[in-house]
């Protein structure tokens, strides 16, 4: 009985590890996205890639070959991201990977990518440590300190903030924001009055908010993922906190407004993407993305993540098309590209591999909709 189980296991393993087909008429790149946990961010990211691939292939592909993307799930876990990376590089033989999405997972994969000389482009990993992760690591979103500089400056000058407080999500994204924003506020002469934190998965912030209420403040900054930041601001308002609220780009999604309800009114946050950016490329992208969202009620709606991966895919494809598919050739393109026609702006990369756009977009929620502010 046991021997049969063993044979079954062995055959499953052998079959499963089968060599993936290498079709000569295809160019493959890999993607490691949040497809199970965090699918509300990962699925839009996937759609962005799919839209780009469809466009590129419809226009004849890359040098006549069809572009194919192999998706793997980062499972919000560093070991799973590493396994996904190994599988993509070793079995699918990709040379370019879009992802992972979470900073921790990027940091796990980065040393491997450096050693193996594989280009990885994280669409939205925000940790500053990613800039130093190596020359094969690129980042598709603005580095968090540029976001911090823009938002804190806006807070001081336009919102006339004098006493900010921070309620942050205790993981790399939120904590990174807390550290950077505290520094920026201090440099602007308006040091943070108090800080509290919460964990991903928490929904009850009454303890932290009650504690913050003990000292007067005029700005409540809540960096984190919207599943937590939305209930947080909602509870804050219910508790009678009237201070101006502020968030980072995690709050840039219609779902945030839906979950926070009226509490989202007046909220200031930054975004990597401006839907009203008036270029033909953006219009085409928007139409394609919203067509997908409208078609299925269960589809998460987050144009920002889709926009970032859409741009990154097109950059990678353009790199392969103009310079070649080897990692150093792709790097050669990415390091020197100027004013790439992206939907997130005119793009280039700085010497650390971080994307450069014309600036950070700031938005305010007015009557249940995002309105751009300057």
């Amino acid at each position: 009985m046991q021997r049969r189980w063993l044979w079954l296991l062995v055959s499953v393993v052998v079959l499963g590890m089968g060599v993936s087909e290498v079709r000569a008429e295809e160019i493959k790149i890999g993607a490691i996205l949040r497809l199970s946990q965090g699918a509300s961010d990962g699925l839009p990211a996937k759609r962005g890639i799919e839209i780009a691939v469809k466009e590129i292939n419809a226009a004849g592909g890359i040098g006549g070959k069809q572009l194919k993307v192999i998706f793997e799930d980062e499972k919000d876990s560093a070991p799973a991201s590493v396994s996904a990376y190994q599988k993509l590089v070793s079995m699918d033989k990709v040379k370019v990977i879009i992802g992972p999405m979470m900073s921790g997972n990027v940091l796990a994969v980065a040393p491997l990518a450096q050693r193996d000389k594989i280009v990885i482009i994280t669409p939205n990993g925000t940790s500053p440590k990613i800039s130093d992760a190596g020359e094969y690591v690129y980042r598709g979103c603005t580095r968090i300190d540029k976001q911090a500089a823009a938002l804190t400056k806006y807070a001081k000058e336009s919102l006339k903030t004098t006493k900010p407080v921070i309620l942050y999500s205790n993981e790399p994204y939120g904590k990174g924001c807390n550290d950077l924003f505290s520094k920026c506020f201090a440099e602007l002469g308006i040091p943070v009055v108090s800080t509290e934190s919460f964990m991903v998965g928490d929904r009850d912030f009454s303890a932290q908010l009650t504690k913050l209420k003990q000292k007067p403040f005029d700005l409540l900054f809540i960096p984190g993922y919207l599943q937590e930041t939305a209930p947080a601001i909602s509870q804050a308002r219910r508790m009678g906190i009237t201070a101006q609220s502020m968030g980072v780009f995690g709050d840039m999604a219609p779902k945030y407004i839906e979950l926070a309800g009226k509490a989202s009114e007046g909220h200031i946050n930054c975004s990597e993407y401006d839907e009203d950016y008036n270029t033909p490329t953006n219009k085409k992208f928007k139409d394609a993305y919203y067509k997908i969202v409208m078609a299925d009620a269960k589809e998460p709606n987050n144009a920002m993540f889709a926009a970032i991966t859409y741009d990154m895919t097109r950059l990678a494809a353009k790199a392969i098309a103009t310079k070649g598919g080897a990692p150093d050739q792709v790097r050669g393109y990415l390091d020197t590209v100027k004013d790439f026609d992206g939907v997130t702006g005119k793009l280039s990369f700085d010497k650390n591999g971080d994307v450069v756009k014309q600036g950070v977009y700031l938005f305010k929620v007015v009557k249940g909709k995002y309105v751009k502010v300057k």
Binding site: Q2, W5, L6, L9, V12, V13, L15, G16, M17, V19, L35, S36, E72, D73, D76, S77, A78, P79, A80, V82, S83, Q86, K87, V89, S90, M91, S103, G104, L107, A108, P111, R115, S127, K129, N170, E171, P172, K175, G176, M199
Partner: protein, 288 residues
């Protein structure tokens, strides 16, 4: 393809050590632990930090085992005082407290984790090659399997079996239940710490997420699916649960459903696990 397979094999080896270590407390001594990943993490962070500070791998590796064992002792002292049925929840609580601590200490890098952990260095040479690392894991695993069989057939192992069967009877026979149970937890923690050290230096990056409840459940599942108390069973369980997610990649959306369903089905149809030869009641005595 071979690099990928080597990677998977290395993960299997590391988790095999981990599963075997849990098998000591659950399988040999009958103590349920839902917080075993905490020991894995303590070993990983200890070893990583020691090598980051510049000390050698043997020091880091050994310290990982010893420090984790000491923390196992610290857990055992209060935990074993509670009613047996509560041990599961206390170990679960311990696991959660430890992972939240990892998340909040400066020294462990907080939520960002430890970046840039140095690789294993043997006689001055860093071990980057995968086959080499697999060999190292194989050697550790080999030692472990040998010591497992020795333990199982020793006086200690027999005392554990008696306690597992029925601890009231065992105490009447003059066995120091408390002492032997503590020993089981300490030894189990020691080996888990060693597994953690291997893991830290292989992946060069660790963060608190990896050492949480989800991983503890996975390790317990490996032991249970393979067969509680069975040494080849723990190996098989580790192999199965490490390889299956890789093999099931095309079914990525359904992986968790399959995992959950598999656990339920196994318990209903074959609770003694794949390699378990006895009915579970024979291993654990009559139900309380």
């Amino acid at each position: 393809m071979s690099v990928y397979i080597l990677h998977v094999l290395i993960m299997v080896a590391i988790f095999a050590v981990l599963a075997l270590s849990l098998n000591i407390s659950v399988g040999f001594a009958g103590l349920v632990s839902l917080g075993h990943a905490a020991f894995f993490g303590i070993g990983a962070y200890t070893s990583g930090l020691i090598m980051i500070k510049g000390l050698s791998f043997p020091v880091a590796f050994g310290s990982a085992g010893i420090i984790t064992a000491l923390l196992g002792l610290a857990l055992a002292l209060p935990a074993l005082r509670v009613k047996d049925d509560y041990l599961a929840i206390v170990t679960l609580g311990f696991g959660i407290i430890v992972s939240i601590t990892f998340m909040n200490l400066e020294i462990t890098g907080g939520p960002d984790g430890l970046v840039g952990i140095p690789p294993v260095t043997l006689w001055g040479n860093p071990l980057y090659s995968k086959p080499g690392f697999l060999l190292l894991c194989g050697v550790v695993l080999g030692f472990m399997i040998a010591s497992m069989y020795t333990l199982k057939n020793s006086k200690i192992g027999r005392a554990w079996a008696a306690i597992r069967d029925n601890d009231v009877t065992a105490s009447f026979m003059g066995i120091n239940i408390y002492g032997y149970k503590t020993l089981a937890i300490v030894v189990s923690a020691f080996w888990a710490g060693l597994a953690g050290s291997l893991y830290a230096h292989y992946t060069a990056y660790i963060n608190p997420h990896t050492f949480g409840l989800h991983t503890s459940i996975m390790i317990l599942s490996m032991v249970v699916l393979g067969g509680i108390g069975s040494i080849p069973g723990a190996l098989l369980g580790a192999a199965l649960l490490t390889v299956l997610p890789e093999v099931l990649r095309p079914l990525a959306d359904y992986q968790d459903i399959i995992y959950g369903g598999l656990l339920v089905a196994m318990m209903v149809f074959r609770p003694q696990g794949i390699m378990g030869r006895f009915k579970i009641t024979e291993i654990f005595g009559r139900a309380r």
